[in-house]
């Protein structure tokens, strides 16, 4: 009946998949779920290959409608069937696929369920370290779900199975006892724990304990136990009988168990039963039967060995493939590392080049800036020196002009002699330069009757006379003497460092030269004379502070005036003062003639033989 129901659901799924749209998703999911439950119900009884097509349809549907839990469970069921029939390779990959999906779903229950299924497979493959790792993982998840002890009991059961397979019987017992404490009484889980505990007890040689446990199992669970559990029970019971020395009973039980193994893939159990039979017969001294079962055991064991060898080869291949893959990954990683290194080196080179370029650019810029600076400095200096040169030229020019202007301003244009300005500008310095106790003679020369010449011959002739007169003066004086056109036909001659006697000679020479010189005026020779008055500075050494050079000049002028007055063509020079202490210069200037006459001042003159008129 269950068969018919399953086929009906299967058809229903196919049909609904064809005709239904998205709006019927909920109904679809419900249908898939129901169909899967039906299938599971059947699967609990046997590893049936015929359910695989339906299982795959349900899986596709579950995948389509994102029912991940059902999808994972269908994968696990198919993986379990493949495991049962020795297709470990695909079974392993399907288990890992389920684990990957379970991790994605993130539901702890399905995760634990998947891990336990993988542990079952790993035990078949005798990969105990893998199984141990997965059971640890399952324990962690199950402990987080502590409100539901069922998962913890499952984990304990599988942990005990691992220890049993590994031969750590005490640890197996410990886990089983913990599991029994957590398990609900009379539950199928409790039955499985009992069965494993009985097996462990046998491995420890406690056949009496084992028998008690098996008895309990038989009473409570035998009717609901699956094929595998029933077989395990039978085997354990036979082993108990063997250990107890009840060989006939052991043989009977083993025979019964052996019958159950025919046409199944429970080869391990079959081999154990055959070995047990051989041992029991041998201990009964029935060596013929012992030999027979030993041969059968040998055949079964060989088949098992073949299967195990295949598994080992599979594992070795997988390990080799993994190692090869790792080697390739390693090679790729090395390649990548080398490439990365090359890229880094390349980048480094580029960076270095860039840095070098930047450095050179900077150096270039600096050089250019330096050249520019030098050029600027050079231009600047050139410009400055040009400016300086121009300034110097201009300064020199200005100086020259100033000098010329000064010369012009200090020179009388007609005679070429110095003028009054020059005299005033230089006299103080000349006086200061005058050595002590040396005299400086101030001498004023005036052309007699010059007005007549001008009136007679014209001003041009007068100018010529003046020029000739000046030339005479130049000829009659020393280079150190200062010769100034004092104004009109009047000339000032300053003779430094000259004694009063030398002065008399000098002025006499001038008077004579002028008198003798044939002046030309309009082509005619003209006779000219000159009058000269002079006075020494200092007048007396005692009066140096009292009589200034200006006053000495006026005294000379007074001498000239007197000379004009007495005769003309003569000279009068002040020689000394009679009483220097009583000398009053202002008075003398006003009354020069009187003073000469009174003898308060002593004068020399070229005019001899005649007295100075009153």
């Amino acid at each position: 009946m269950s068969w018919l129901r399953s086929v009906w659901y299967y058809c229903l799924i196919l049909f609904s998949y064809e005709i239904c749209g998205d709006e019927d998703t909920v109904v679809q999911k419900q249908t898939i779920s129901t169909a899967f439950e039906q299938l599971k119900y059947r699967m609990e009884s046997e590893h049936e290959l015929s359910v695989l097509p339906q299982l795959r349809v349900i899986r596709n549907q579950a995948k389509h409608y994102a029912q991940r839990t059902i999808e994972i469970q269908t994968i696990l069921i198919e993986a379990s069937i493949r495991q049962h029939f020795g297709d470990y390779k695909h079974s392993l990959s399907m288990h890992y696929q389920a684990l990957e999906l379970a991790e994605q779903v993130g539901k702890p229950r399905i995760m634990v369920e998947t891990l336990l299924a993988i542990i079952d497979l790993e035990l078949d493959l005798e990969r105990y370290d893998h199984a141990q790792r997965y059971v640890n993982q399952a324990t962690q998840i199950a402990q987080a779900l502590n409100q539901d002890d069922e998962f913890l009991v499952h984990v304990k059961l599988w942990r005990a199975k691992i220890y049993l397979e590994k031969g750590s019987f005490r640890q197996a017992l410990y886990e089983l006892e913990l599991g029994q404490k957590l398990a609900k009484n009379n539950s199928p889980l409790s039955a499985r724990l009992l069965l494993i505990e009985a097996q462990v007890a046998l491995r420890l040689g406690n056949y009496l304990v084992s028998r008690t446990l098996l008895n309990e199992f038989s009473i409570k669970y035998m009717s609901s136990a699956d094929d595998k559990s029933q077989l395990d029970y039978q085997l354990a019971l036979a082993e108990s009988a063997l250990q107890a020395g009840e060989f006939s009973e052991a043989i009977e039980l083993a025979m019964k168990g052996l019958e159950q193994t025919f046409h199944t893939r429970y080869l391990e159990e079959q081999a154990s039963l055959q070995r047990l039979l051989a041992s029991a017969y041998a201990q009964l001294s029935d060596y013929q039967q012992a030999h027979l079962y030993l041969k059968r055991y040998s055949l079964t064991e060989r088949a098992l060995d073949q299967q195990k060898r295949n598994n080992k080869v599979l594992q070795l291949e997988a390990q080799y493939a993994l190692a090869h893959q790792q080697q390739q990954v390693s090679l790729l990683e090395k390649d990548n590392a080398i490439q990365a290194q090359q890229i880094v080196q390349h980048e480094q080179t580029l960076e270095n080049t860039k840095l070098t370029q930047q450095r050179w650019l900077l150096i270039g810029l600096l050089c250019f800036a330096a050249v520019l600076f030098v050029y600027w400095r050079w231009q600047n200096r050139r410009y400055t020196s040009k400016l300086e040169m121009q300034v110097a030229e201009r300064t020199a020019e200005l100086k020259e002009r100033n000098k010329r202007l000064q010369t012009l301003s200090f020179t009388d244009s007609l005679t070429g002699l110095s003028n009054r300005h020059y005299f005033f500008s230089t006299i103080d310095s000349q006086i200061n330069a005058l050595p002590e106790k040396h005299d400086m003679i101030f001498c004023i020369v005036d052309i007699d009757h010059f007005k007549k010449i001008n009136d007679t011959y014209g001003h041009a002739a007068g100018d010529l006379v003046l020029q000739s007169f000046a030339d005479i003066l130049k000829q009659c004086t020393r280079n150190s003497d200062l010769l100034v056109r004092w104004g009109g036909e009047e000339f000032l001659l300053v003779m430094p460092d000259m004694s009063r006697r030398d002065a008399q000679e000098a002025v006499e020479r001038i008077r004579q030269q002028v008198e003798r010189f044939p002046f030309m005026a309009n082509g005619q020779t003209v006779q000219c004379t000159c009058s000269i008055g002079f006075a020494p500075y200092p007048l007396t050494p005692d009066l140096q502070e009292q009589v200034s050079w200006e006053q000495v000049l006026e005294l000379a002028d007074s001498g000239l005036y007197l000379a004009k007055e007495v005769h003309r063509n003569t000279w009068i020079g002040l020689d000394s003062v009679r009483q220097p202490s009583a000398f009053d210069v202002e008075y003398t200037l006003k009354h020069y003639k009187e003073q000469v006459r009174q003898g308060n001042i002593v004068v020399s003159s070229s005019y001899v033989g005649a007295e100075i008129p009153a």
Binding site: Y128, D129, K166, G167, S168, F169, R170, Q171, L173, Y174, E177, L178, L202, R203, G205, Y207, L242, Q243, A244, G245, E246, F247, L276, S279, A282, Q283, S285
Partner: protein, 293 residues
Amino acid sequence: MKWCWLFFFVSCFAYAKPPLVIDIISSENFSQRYKEFLAGRSVLEIDDFHPSTKGSHIEIIEMVLLQQALFLGGEHRPVIFNPKPSVNIIEFSDLIAGDSLVLARSTWHEDLLDYKGSLYITEPLVEYGEYEAGFYVTKRNVALHDMPAERLNQLTVVANPRWKVDWRALNNTDINVVSFIGPWETMLEMVETNVVDAMLINFSVSESLVLNFEGREYVPINELKLLLPDSRHFVVSKRHPEGEQVFNALNTGLAILKQRGILKKALIESGFISGRVKDWHMVNESMLMRALP
């Protein structure tokens, strides 16, 4: 004085009753080494179990202990050792058939499970948890001398899968096991030639724990030891007419020896239980786990 009386009784019974025939393994020259160890002394006088001959010593000590136990248990007949090939002994066929009475070599309990119906199994000579072994490597392989327990997954050890207890012990560690069925000497040669790193061997009797074999030296990895998770027992044939009687005597005698501390003393003095490794880390310590209180 006590031992003189015992010797007197043994001598008297020797003349009165037929001797007790006990099987021993014919290989390894145990008979000769046993005589050398006794050096003319009566077996019942032996109370110093320190080794005085070369080679494995536990077998000699077991021959002594068996006789002392039988005597203490009331079996005063003289003993004759009957050397047999090891194959017969391992399969227990003679004992099962009743052709042999008792074996002067202790046996792992695990190996007796299928024969519990045919063999009497005595109280343990070596109790569960007492049997320890070291990972012996060549002395020149200095890199392995101080290998830490965390790196045991990098160690490769050769083991014989027929030695079920060794196999189970190693299976409960992270150690890589290379299976080899063959002579013990070849396994040692595998260590010597670096085919494997180490071999599981009882700790040497010498103070330094160094094992010297044919001029080559082997040392255990420091601070690491492995529990061999089973007990060792004497077995007596159930089918032999004197089986029950001898078994009772043997079991009684063993209980007395145990009570007197002779068993422990013998195991320690013979070097079987090494005091030097008492504090070493047992890499499969979890196998010692007791059941829930």
